[in-house]
Structure formats: structure tokens, C-alpha cells
Symmetry: C2
Subunit: 462 residues, 2 copies
């Protein structure tokens, strides 16, 4: 890495946290539009672009086929992604071992948000983007959301707009840039590059793009299925405040890291990729590959027509969960400082065994058959929370490029009665501690990052 | 994780950096012995314990055999480690693809150093420990250096001394606790838990143990083959100073992390485990498995007799490099602040593609056949450095429990003539930035951590 001149700089951006707080405080209007105008803007983008998706038979996939020998679902280009099999042995809990289909996508994509000050307030360039699996199809996404195939032209489509800010070092000031995992239950070791870059250049504004303050995005996070997963995970990577009350926590950082290291060390998870044909307990028919007891998800296929994507039409497989998930942090204050109860989760697709997830992260329908001590801790408490204890609730879609109708209820639930004594695998952490961990990869899982974005945008006061 | 009471604490240990600096300044004497008495102490420990190693035929390994079908070298217990095959495709450089034997050891071990204040100065409890592959056999190791098999009794040996400080949370104050990688060219995704724990309990002192200040250990790091690899990597995990001049760097932390993320993203490394029998270009004879051109290393076997280990005698395979390695940081000051030139290295056994290594890390004999642009950058500069430019040089042994006679020359070489313009894959970083990264796993490789321990112990002034 080359520096332009031999002048030292402060290692940390001391000016940034205050600017972020100021942007999060601007909730009603930004430089481009008022927050109450946003729904019309998004609807207009929907009308300006033709989108349609249609469920198709697996045999009607174009360019995709089940490989002889393995049965893996692959694209003839050898790129994009494949659907393969996974055999996971945790040796713990009510389900100590299982087989499942999994998406393998070794390419690292770029999820990038461009930031710029207007009238002294930080704004973030967001895109109205169609993804075939998303509720409402059109949601608010990062400035750039591109696989390497996208921007190196495997799609043979048009250029990815604004990509140059994220591929040419020196075009702006990097606020965050980290490889983050995605859904470990559905992806095998997938990571995307989460970037925020601050520019002071004049930025030409394309029709499908919109400058918003953090506070405006925070308001939109209170609406169902508006801010897409990629936008949420990138926003979670913004640095959190570390001064004043934020310099304090129930557990010092060194002890928190030690607890996490212990959690990662004590789980001996064996993960083995297997041919899709050898996945036991799942059955393929004309339309899908599904679990024999109807749980978890189906592998299915869509045909997509789109007017403003890099290519105008395609078919692809997606995973379709059978039911809505729930992802919730229990939260309370200690000595006035907010804490959330993090859970060190094993997911079969994680690169390194364990990441921190929300207190509760389950698809309740998958666990209807479990009772008593086998029920996931805190699940019933979240499902039966009194309305006055729910500090935040919204439904959000997971990655709409790979998952169809994958919605989760995201919640913060007040739990002032819980003490410092928590079960093994759980720890009280501050939002600032989660932010510090999210500067690095493989600490905070994608569901916890959605909830963390509620803090960084002020959707939930921290 | 449970807190003892609901009292907030500062997230960072602001008192710790000054105590570490004070301990590093105590170079001549500690509470137990003077530094000039250390060699006698170590020699006495050698006389008090009987050690002998003998090279044996592969067929004379007890409990180890080549598995039918794969040819993998395995122990009948299914534990310890296995020697398997690896197929690596980087697609870059003079050697874009290769096969090799590799050690697979999925267990996470504990490398732990206990710290305690005597007369207001931090001391560290070090152990005189025999390892069969080490030069001189006996070297200075961490308080605890134990695989899970060790302390869960697969060896059926005696207890691991002092292990309770590292397995029972709450027995002390954690200064550092992080899963760090080891040699990515010889191990497949191995990680050990590097821990430092501060206690104020009375600690009974065993014969083979010695309390030393950081400065005393720093003095010993100037001697060849005294401080073992495990001690060096743990000491590298101590937090570095971050105030005053140490708060400044050529690249702010956010830009450094972004550069690192870019390096990790741009390498598409394909790594595939293969049966040892299918490793091409290597041949097994009665005594070893070796490379057909005599490069890299041999897989060989030793019989060990030891008086003070958990078990008194055993046989085991080891890797024996064919020549001495070199690991060197080029170093210079910018605006008075020391920087070292880090290299983002691909090693086939890394969990996540790339880690930061020294500027130069090679076994020169393996590259004698390469010329011109194919020679590793900066290698010839280090090999031909003028004596007045060498700020530090010592020979150290790599992990003596797995590697026989694996020695490297470790150096810091002054390079005041180099500017800020460096080749792709290289970046100037401060020792404090390396320390910050080493709080987390998979950033700083084991060779760079050896050099980093020279800063944390004051062996090299930072």
C-alpha cells in the first residue's frame, strides 16, 4: 500500500463518531427528500422499472443443471454459486448432527455505501434495487451491491454504477471495510466485503439512487421490508461511539474477547461438504428439493424479468424458508448503560465455528416438535413478550438474490428483570462493544448486524 | 458469561500499557534470578531431567501407521494430529500450484503465560520445557503449553501444571486471549489459544518454572534458541502502547484494515485436502517422505525419552525442514515513529487466505533456482544487509513438538532509504498497529508474531 506523502496521521478518526451521531439525529429530511416523501420515491422507481418473477420447474432453469455424479446444482459458466450438500456434527443439543443443502459462493462480493456531506451533514447514497426473492421486490440497497462476476462482466451486462469508489483506493476516505459472513445456515463460508467510503467529489446522481441521512434510514428501518439485508449489514459496520458512558461495560473488552475465544475453542464442530445427491432426509421433485418433514427450507427456481439490472432476464435457484424467522436481542441497562444479550452461535456454514448472534435467532416453526429443556433459551420469552416490553419490531427480508420470501421478525425486547447471571454461551455486551467487534470479520453474524444497524442509524436509541 | 456484580468497568485497561513498559525496562534482574544467572538455571534444569531423542524408521513408530486407502499418517487413538496431503492453487507467482504433505491438528491447544506483580513489577511465569525437535531440546516456554489431549488425559500422563488459571474463568484477570494461527506452510488451519492471565494469588513455584520480567525475556530473545516459539507468540499478544506518538501512523487504522481486506479479497486461493498417497512430487522411503528435488522438508520420525513430561517416552512423526529459514522486517521511522514493512502472505494452511507476515519470510535454499523477477521481493536485500543496518538478529526454533531442527534467522533490518511507495501486497505499519491486530486471530502470522514479541519485551526498542 502506497501513501501519497510521508506525513503521519492519527490512527483513529476522532471526528467521525460525532458526525455519525449528528447524521443519525436528522430523521425528518435530507438534502434530496423528506422522509415522508420516500415511499412515493420508491414507488416511482418501481413504476419506472419493469420487474416480474415467476416460479419455474427445476428443469426449466437456463444454464443451470445437476452435475452428473454429485447432483450438485451448478451453472455452466462455473461461476455464480452452486448448491451442494453439507454434513454437520456438533455433538451437542437436541440436534447433534444433520445433513442439508447449502449454497457455496466462493467469490467475495462488494457491498459498498458511498457517503458525502451536504450542508455539513453526512448523507449515504442508497439504491432502489430489485431482488427476485425480496418482499415487494424493490428495496433500499447499498450504493453498490455486486458480486465479482457482476463487475468483471461474467453476466455480460452493463457496468456497475459507482463501483470505482470501491475498487480504486484513494478515490475517497474509507470509513469501514471488512469481510463479513452471511447466513451460516444457508451459505458455506460466504463472505462479502462491507465498505463505507466518504467522498468530497461531485457525485452524479442516477435515477435509482437517493442520498439519505443515517436518521432517515433509521426511520425506514421501522418499516417492514424496505431496507434490504445488504444495506443493513454495511450500516452495522460504522464505528460506534467509544467515549463517555460508551467507554464502560459490564465486561471489559479483554474479558469479552476471552469469553468469545473460549466459546470458539470449546465447540468441536465437524463440517464436511458432501454431494447434494447424498444429503439424507431431503427429497427432490419437479419443483423443489425439500426436507422430508417439511421443515427448514426448499431449494426452488425462479424466472426473473427486470428492466434496470445488469442483465434483463435470467433464471436461478433460490432457497425458500418454510416459515418466518425471529431474531431478537434481549436488552437492559446496567448503571444506565444499555446492554444486549449476545449468543455465541454455531452455524454449519461459518468459516470459524462460532459467531455472536442475537439472544434468539430461530424459525419457531422448525422447533415446534421440541419441548421443555430442548426449546431454545429465551425463545418463548420473546414470542410472548408484552407489547410494552417491545422496544423495536420490524419484519425484514434476508438476501433477496439467494432467498425467496425469507423474512424475519427483528426485535429488541426489554428484559430489566434479567441479572448478570446468564446461561453458558450468552454474554451481556454494549452496542459499542458489538460495533468494535464488527470492525473485524467473523465476530458478529448477519442477523445481529441487522439489529446493530438499528443502533448506528438511531432507529433504536443506544 | 456471568459477572460477579452489576458494576460497570472501563472497557480498556488503561493502567496496563505503563506496567508493561515498566516490566520491559527491568532487563538485568527479576524477583527470582538475575538475567546473567539464567543460563545456569536452564542448564541445571537440563541436568535434572533426562532427555534423549533418536531418529527412527517410519515403521518403528509406535501407535502410528499409514491408513489403508489414503496413506495418511495417523495415531491409533484418532487424536494428536495426522499427516495428510494438500493441493494448493494460487494461480499467481512463480509457483502457482503445488502438492505437499501437511499436518492436520484440529484440536485447539492452550498456550498460557501467568503474570503476577512482585515488588510492583510484572513478572511472567516461564517453564524450562523439553521439546524433541528444538535445538538444545530444552527451551523457555509458556507456563502452560498443552493440547486438549494433554490436559484431558489422552496421553494418560500426569496433570498439566497451572492449567487451572487458564481453564477456570475468574481465577485471574485476562490480559489477552486469542486464537492465533501457526505455520500455514506446515499446518492445515491450526490455531492455538494464546492467553496471558494476571493473578494476585500466591503461586507455588515448581522446579522447572521461573518468574521473569518482560525485559529479562527480551534479553533472552537476543540469544539463539532459548525462547521457544510458543512463548514468543503469546508475548506478541500483549497490548501495545496506543498513546502519544503511538497514536500516529502512516496509514490510519481504517485504511490499514481496508488494505488488508482488499488483499484478502483479491486472492482466490483454492485449497483441497487430498490423501497423503496422492501427493505428487514427494516420495516415501524407509526413513522419511521427502520432496523429489530435495526442497522444503521431510516427514520423519523420532523416539523420545523424557523424565519430566506428562508421559516418559513416546515416538512421533515430525517435519524436518531441509534448510534454515529467514524472517525479517525491514524497518524505518517516519516522522520519528518506527514502522515495519508488513507483507500480506498467502499460505496454503491459513484458515482465511492471507495473514500479515514479515517483509521477508523464506527458506532461501528453496528458492535458489529462481532468478530475477521471480526472486521474492526484498530477500536479497535482507541476505546481503550491511552489519550496521541489522538492528536485531537471532536464530529461533519453530514449534519443537512438530518440527525437527526448524530454525530461522529473525532480523530487523534498517531501510531508511525506502519511501512510502511500496509494491502491491506490502504496507508500512507501526508496531502498535500490529499489536492491535494481534488482539484478534488470523491477522498476524506466527513469524511476524515472533518479531512482534521483540517489541513487547523491549528486545528491540519501538
Amino acid at each position: 500500500m502506497t501513501a501519497t506523502e510521508a506525513v503521519l496521521r492519527p490512527r483513529t478518526d476522532s471526528w467521525l463518531p460525532d458526525r455519525l451521531v449528528a447524521s443519525a439525529a436528522e430523521r425528518k429530511a435530507g438534502t434530496q427528500l423528506r422522509t415522508d416523501e420516500f415511499a412515493d420515491w420508491l414507488a416511482a422507481r418501481g413504476r419506472a422499472n419493469h420487474f416480474a418473477v415467476e416460479r419455474i420447474r427445476l428443469a426449466d432453469l437456463q444454464g443451470w443443471s445437476f452435475a452428473p455424479g454429485s447432483g450438485n446444482l451448478t451453472h455452466r459458466s462455473g461461476r455464480f454459486f452452486t448448491v451442494e450438500g453439507l454434513h454437520v456434527v456438533t455433538g451437542q443439543g437436541p440436534v447433534p448432527e444433520w445433513h442439508q443443502p447449502i449454497i457455496k459462493q466462493p467469490e467475495v462480493g462488494v457491498l459498498g455505501i458511498l457517503a458525502k456531506e451536504f450542508d455539513g451533514v453526512l448523507h449515504f447514497l442508497m439504491q432502489a434495487k430489485m431482488e427476485p426473492g425480496n418482499a415487494n421486490l424493490l428495496q433500499l440497497s447499498p450504493t453498490v451491491q455486486a458480486t465479482r462476476s457482476n463487475y468483471t462482466k461474467v453476466h455480460r451486462g452493463s457496468d456497475v454504477k459507482y463501483i470505482q469508489y470501491f475498487t480504486s483506493p484513494g478515490r475517497g476516505r474509507v470509513l469501514a471495510d471488512v469481510l463479513q459472513s452471511e447466513h451460516g445456515s444457508w451459505f458455506y463460508r460466504k463472505a462479502n466485503r462491507n465498505m463505507l467510503v466518504l467522498t468530497d467529489e461531485d457525485v452524479p446522481l442516477d435515477d435509482d439512487f437517493c442520498w439519505l441521512t443515517l436518521g432517515q434510514i433509521g426511520e425506514l428501518l421501522h418499516r417492514d421490508n424496505v431496507v434490504n439485508m445488504d444495506a443493513r449489514t454495511v450500516l452495522a459496520c460504522l464505528p460506534g461511539p467509544e467515549q463517555g458512558p460508551d467507554a464502560w461495560a459490564l465486561h471489559p473488552d479483554a474479558r469479552l474477547l476471552s469469553w468469545f475465544t473460549g466459546e470458539r475453542s470449546r465447540h468441536e464442530v465437524r463440517v464436511e461438504r458432501i454431494p447434494l445427491d447424498e444429503v439424507r432426509g431431503w427429497t427432490r421433485d419437479e419443483w423443489s428439493i425439500s426436507h422430508d418433514e417439511g421443515r427448514f427450507f426448499r431449494v426452488m427456481a425462479l424466472a426473473v424479468q427486470a428492466g434496470n439490472r445488469e442483465v434483463t432476464g435470467w433464471t436461478q435457484p433460490l432457497f425458500e424458508p418454510v416459515a418466518t424467522g425471529v431474531a431478537a436481542f434481549l436488552t437492559r441497562r446496567f448503571d444506565g448503560v444499555p446492554h444486549v444479550l449476545a449468543h455465541a452461535r454455531v452455524e454449519g456454514g461459518f468459516l470459524d465455528t462460532v459467531e455472536l448472534g442475537p439472544t434468539v435467532q430461530y424459525t419457531p416453526a422448525n422447533y415446534g416438535h421440541l419441548t421443555g429443556a430442548d426449546r431454545p433459551p429465551f425463545l418463548d420469552r420473546v414470542l410472548s413478550a408484552a407489547p410494552e416490553d417491545i422496544r423495536y419490531e420490524a419484519r425484514h427480508s434476508e438476501e433477496g438474490g439467494r432467498f425467496l420470501n425469507a423474512e424475519s421478525r427483528y426485535l429488541f425486547v426489554e428484559a430489566g428483570d434479567l441479572g448478570t447471571d446468564v446461561p453458558p454461551g450468552y454474554a451481556w455486551v454494549t452496542p459499542g462493544q458489538l460495533s468494535s467487534l464488527a470492525r473485524h470479520g467473523h465476530y458478529v453474524n448477519v442477523q445481529a448486524r441487522t439489529l446493530l444497524s438499528c443502533f448506528s442509524t438511531g432507529a433504536v436509541p443506544s
